[in-house]
């Protein structure tokens, strides 16, 4: 159970962080007219195609005591990043980035540009337009982004193993725990954990699809 709580905590932190940094990135990707935009789009999508071990490997190198991030962390806080919960959060944020950013981009782009024009001629600057028009109309996308990054982090394995290792209560998440149980032939325990993860994932995905079917969007046209 300790592993489950750790996983949920990790997933919640990552989802929150991803919403906060995903929104400005998605906003820029949705509305910028810069011609080199595709480069950033490719970088954002990279974790979708890279094996988690590749991402985890580079994250580990960067966070290690001789890596740039690790050095910085030691200088600031007196301890390293690798094999810590914070390190795990950082790597997971990278790994789940596209799962947050892509639904946000899609929903921002789906907002009628004339509504943004209307907001501008009524005196609203870009920030106010974002809060009063874009964000409320993109709510399904925001929920999707939060839920998908939460679910994706919950189920990750490769990155966690590379960066976090397997320290009980610190970095041993559900998926690692299941792997452990299987390795030691404890199929019953593995099954309980696996089933739990399955149920949670299903519930979470149901939320995403319900939101996108506009089950809960009150202003949907009649």
């Amino acid at each position: 159970m300790e592993a489950l709580w750790l996983s949920l905590k990790l997933a919640a932190c990552v989802a929150a962080i991803l919403l906060a940094i995903g929104m400005p990135v998605a906003y820029w990707l949705a509305y910028s007219t810069w011609r080199g935009k595709f480069l950033l789009e490719s970088i954002v999508a990279l974790p979708l195609v890279l094996p988690p071990t590749v991402l985890g490997f580079y994250a580990l190198v960067a966070m290690g005591p001789r890596g740039p991030l690790g050095k910085l962390w030691i200088a600031l806080f007196g301890h390293g990043l690798a094999f810590t919960f914070t390190g795990l959060i950082l790597a997971s944020v990278l790994y789940s980035f596209p799962f947050a950013v892509q639904p946000l981009i899609a929903s921002f782009e789906g907002v009628d540009p004339r509504l943004l024009d209307a907001s501008a001629v009524l005196g609203a600057g870009a920030l106010r337009t974002f809060w009063r028009v874009i964000l409320p109309l993109s709510l399904p996308g925001v929920v999707t982004a939060a839920v998908l990054s939460f679910a994706h982090t919950l189920g990750e394995f490769g990155v966690v193993l590379m960066v976090g290792g397997n320290l009980a209560g610190v970095t041993r998440t559900v998926s690692i725990d299941i792997y452990d149980h299987v390795q030691s032939l404890e199929y019953g325990a593995a099954n309980r954990m696996a089933l739990l993860l399955l149920v949670i994932s299903f519930a979470v995905l149901s939320v995403v699809y319900a939101v996108n079917r506009r089950v809960w969007t009150p202003w949907a046209a009649k």
């Binding site: 024009d117 001629v121 609203a124 046209a221």
Partner: protein
């Protein structure tokens, strides 16, 4: 900025290139005084681009936009006041009401700098003026077309703008409702006297609204002045079509009679010859002749003793009732469209296949480029 702006003139001299094209998509110089000015033209004429430039939503490539003494845009001085700071109201063709906000919240959107109480007062007032107060709690999705148009107008006008831009805001409404909304708009502007630029491609709206018309075609101003000067004597083919000249015929000049101020032309490939006003054309060259369907008379016998110079014999191809008007297509070697009343159809016993004579005054024929 701010303060009394009555009688302020909006002037725009702008050029804007179409994306990736070498020619200017928009190259105009216009003056919009206080009161309603119609911006008239077919689709793709550049009307919306011009409005977007004035509102500050699109940046022109070069030129100047002035409102009274204020520079809104000047390519030489590299100044461009962004849209939120221009205080120019813009009612879009799609209205662009915020779907997640109630009518009241939509109208209050541009008033965030006012204290709560004042804001509620102003919103209440304008909703009353535009007769939509009862809808204030409803969302746009629950409101009918005409009422949405009123709310969009109210949302724009409540901010006390310095200029009002209207992009076909009343399309799809019946004439009565349209007239009622326009009356409300006029009443509102009577006290303020701001320049209103009203885009339409509907000839009827021009006649009911227009004090002045600017006709736009292919990104250029082709004509400006009183509606009657601009639209009753179109100089361009596209404008003629848009202004309701149902008959646009290709013709070849046969001979010029300068003393009479007219010339004879042959229509299309037919043997049909008519007199049209003298234009800048050489004998043998091609011209376009525009004739309104409503300017053509129909007779069941060859008329005599008329001052009208053009009488053509033909046969009715079809009659089609459209509201209180019948559209007659008549073959005289070329096909003419003429409008007659249902009463005339009955009295003259007009039917398809019947032999008729078309009568056309020389000065009901317009030459267009």
């Amino acid at each position: 900025m701010g303060g009394e702006v009555n009688g302020t003139m909006l002037t725009a001299q702008i050029r804007k290139q179409r994306h990736g094209a070498s020619s200017f998509a928009l190259d105009v110089s216009i003056e919009v005084p206080a009161g309603i000015t119609i911006l008239f033209g077919g689709s793709g004429a550049g009307k919306s681009t011009l409005l977007d430039c004035i509102a500050g939503l699109t940046r022109p490539d070069e030129g100047r936009i002035l409102l009274g003494g204020d520079v809104l845009y000047d390519s030489v001085r590299a100044s461009h006041i962004p849209a939120p700071k221009r205080r120019i109201a813009y009612v879009f063709q799609t209205l662009a009401l915020f779907p997640h906000l109630s009518a009241e919240e939509n109208v209050a959107y541009g008033l965030r700098n006012l204290p709560e109480e004042q804001r509620r007062e102003r919103v209440g007032e304008i909703l009353t003026v535009f007769r939509v107060k009862k809808l204030r709690k409803q969302r746009p999705g629950e409101i009918s077309g005409g009422e949405k148009q009123r709310i969009a107008l109210a949302r724009s006008l409540v901010t006390e703008p310095r200029v009002l831009l209207l992009d076909e805001p009343l399309t799809g409404l019946d004439a009565e409702l349209k007239a009622a909304i326009v009356d409300d708009l006029r009443a509102w502007n009577a006290a303020r006297g701001i320049p209103v630029l009203y885009v339409t491609h509907n000839r009827d709206e021009v006649d009911s609204l227009g004090e002045r018309v600017i006709a736009l075609d292919n990104g250029r101003v082709v004509s400006a002045g009183e509606p009657i000067e601009v639209l009753d004597a179109p100089r361009r083919k596209k404008l003629a079509q848009a202004a309701g000249f149902e008959n646009l015929l290709h013709a070849t000049v046969l001979d010029l009679r300068e003393a009479d101020g007219m010339m004879r032309v042959k229509l299309g490939e037919s043997a049909c010859e008519i007199e049209v006003p003298l234009g800048y054309a050489a004998v043998g060259s091609g011209v376009q002749v525009a004739v309104r369907a409503g300017d053509i008379l129909l007779a069941t016998e060859r008329p005599r003793g008329l001052s009208a110079r053009n009488v053509m014999e033909g046969r009715i191809l079809s009659l089609e009732q459209r509201g209180t008007m019948v559209i007659a297509r008549v073959d005289c070697g070329v096909t003419f469209v003429a409008h007659v009343t249902p009463g005339a159809v009955r009295a003259l016993e007009l039917t398809a296949g019947r032999r008729v004579w078309l009568v056309l005054k020389t000065h009901s024929c317009y030459l267009v480029d």
